[in-house]
């Protein structure tokens, strides 16, 4: 087997730089369309709902519910040693969905999680600092969620 390698590092770009700058400061930012007033995630240059090119950055409330989740029992590369962990799709109060980790959850040896971990359960954003695992790499922040 090849070496596990570093954790994939997000590469901020012309769409996402304000998002990652917010994450580094402990603020979850999303976009809102000036034309149709719907929220947008992930960041884009145009609204995927109405295609207007008028998006404004706003601070999200940080509250969400679990839309779906999986207890990962076998992972690959740099994540192999982290099992078992919970990955969730969360739906923010603003209506957009994002993939994230559910943190602060005890996963049993049989993969079981407390009954409070459930689809529909309220969660809140928290910010994790990751060490990519290679000496040359700087730490970086990611938004995780924990049970509210």
């Amino acid at each position: 087997m090849s070496s596990p390698g570093p954790i994939p590092r997000p590469v901020p770009d012309g769409d996402s730089r304000p998002y990652w700058e917010g994450i580094a400061r402990g603020e979850l930012r999303i976009q809102r369309c000036d034309a149709c007033e719907r929220y947008v995630f992930y960041p884009r240059a145009l609204c995927p709902h109405c295609h207007a090119e008028a998006l404004t950055w706003v601070a999200a409330s940080g509250t969400a519910t679990i839309y779906s989740y999986t207890v990962v029992r076998q992972a690959f590369g740099p994540f192999a040693g982290q099992v078992s962990f919970v990955v969730a799709v969360v739906e923010l109060a603003e209506g957009v969905r994002m993939l994230s980790r559910l943190t602060g959850v005890e996963v049993g040896a049989d993969g079981g999680v407390p009954s409070t971990v459930a689809i529909g359960a309220p969660v809140r954003v928290t910010f994790a600092t990751l060490e990519p695992g290679a000496e040359s790499e700087e730490p970086f922040a990611l938004p995780y969620f924990r049970l509210a």
Binding site: R9, Y42, Y67, S68
Partner: protein, 379 residues
């Protein structure tokens, strides 16, 4: 109109020392031989893969052909069902007469499935850092949501794997042929809950080829042509968190609806179905989305081994991606098996008097879909 006039697999399973180009050359030669043709007859090339920056350029160079029409559409595992639709359109437009659709992978020998670059760019930057194993973790998220909304159970998911293995036991080319039980599936190694090892497709080497021809060129082929009656395709997302509804495969709904509408048939008209089974949940979502049962009813539909040999709904008669072969992308193989069923070449696994077959592919993380309806009789 257009017809499938030749189909073939390459060596399957473990093919150490073979390249993806060798596998495709082998499958292409065999498929063309079925049609009474050679590579010199090929006008148009369709392929999808990751073996070069331009898979089409390299494959055509290797085969020694100069396609005057080429299509490298890659929308994941269903690319080849999409290619059939594109080739049908090209033949109907008079752009070419003979199309070769080819695929190959040495994924098992390469052990390449989960290699990735350390930098997560574009949409990947919002998903890859979280460590979800893909694609299985994405399908697990869909399965969990389907279970939540509709009460689908792990036992119902397992029914798909058990029935598919029974079909594989009738196919000497299948990689896994030993019978399994629902209990075996439930007890197999957990990967991403609720999906366990036996809910997941195989990782094999292998390739396949399909030859499509115009009615003129199909008129004197050695084997009875199998006619392309309908086609549809759609894709809705790339990232799993962007899927519009995790419990409902809207890309498959659109593809299936278009395919049935093109030919004026309904799901009740299908005699045998070959449906991409990347994971057990994929089959349940596909049966619902294609209209074989209602939304949320897929778990009940597959219960009682309904899709097994002798069951009311013959499904994945080759043993599927779950038990027969799955070299990275599986979409060429539903086309091959549907063609054989309509020719009556199924042997022990032949569905009696199969006249209309459905070959359906799903790609990405339930992202894309393409549906082909094939007929034994000329439309």
């Amino acid at each position: 109109v257009a017809a499938i006039v030749g189909v073939a697999e390459s060596d399957l399973g473990r093919t150490p020392g073979k390249t993806v180009l060798q596998l495709q050359a082998q499958a292409a030669a065999a498929a063309l031989a079925e049609a009474g043709m050679t590579l010199a007859d090929v006008d148009a090339l369709f392929t999808a893969g990751g073996w070069a920056w331009s898979p089409n350029l390299l494959l055509a160079e290797y085969l020694g052909i100069r396609p005057t029409y080429t299509d490298g559409t890659n929308i994941g595992g269903c690319s080849f069902e999409a290619h059939v639709g594109h080739a049908l359109a090209g033949i109907q437009a008079g752009l070419f007469d003979v199309a070769l659709i080819a695929y190959g992978s040495t994924q098992r020998s390469d052990r390449s499935r989960n290699r990735g670059s350390p930098a997560a760019t574009l949409a990947d930057q919002f998903e890859r850092p979280y460590g979800l194993p893909t694609p299985v973790g994405a399908y697990a998220l869909s399965a969990a949501r389907h279970m939540h909304e509709y009460g689908t159970t792990r036992e119902q998911l397992a029914e798909v794997a058990v029935a598919t293995r029974k079909w594989a036991s009738l196919n000497e080319k299948a990689f896994m042929r030993e019978p399994i039980s629902v209990a075996d599936v439930l007890a197999s190694r957990p990967i991403a809950e609720p999906l366990h090892l036996l809910d997941c497709c195989l990782v094999t080497d292998g390739g396949g080829a399909v030859v499509l021809a115009s009615a003129d060129r199909a008129a004197d082929t050695p084997k009875a042509p199998v006619w392309v009656l309908g086609h549809g395709e759609c894709h809705t997302h790339y990232s799993i968190a962007q899927m519009p509804d995790l419990a409902r495969a809207e890309a498959i709904e659109a593809a299936g609806h278009a395919a049935f509408a093109m030919v004026g048939l309904t799901p009740a008209d299908i005699d045998v179905a070959e449906v991409y089974d990347s994971f057990t949940i994929t089959v349940i979502l596909s049966l619902e989305a294609l209209g074989f049962c209602g939304r949320g009813e897929g778990g009940a539909f597959v219960s009682g081994q309904r899709t097994a040999p002798g069951g009311a709904f013959p499904l994945n008669t080759n043993g599927g991606g779950l038990s027969y072969t799955h070299p990275g992308m599986y979409g060429i193989f539903p086309l091959i098996e549907a063609t054989r069923q309509l020719r009556g070449e199924g042997g022990e696994r032949q569905v009696a008097d199969a006249r209309i077959a459905l070959a359906h592919g799903t790609g990405g993380v339930l992202s894309s879909a393409a549906t082909v309806i094939l007929g034994r009789d000329q439309p």
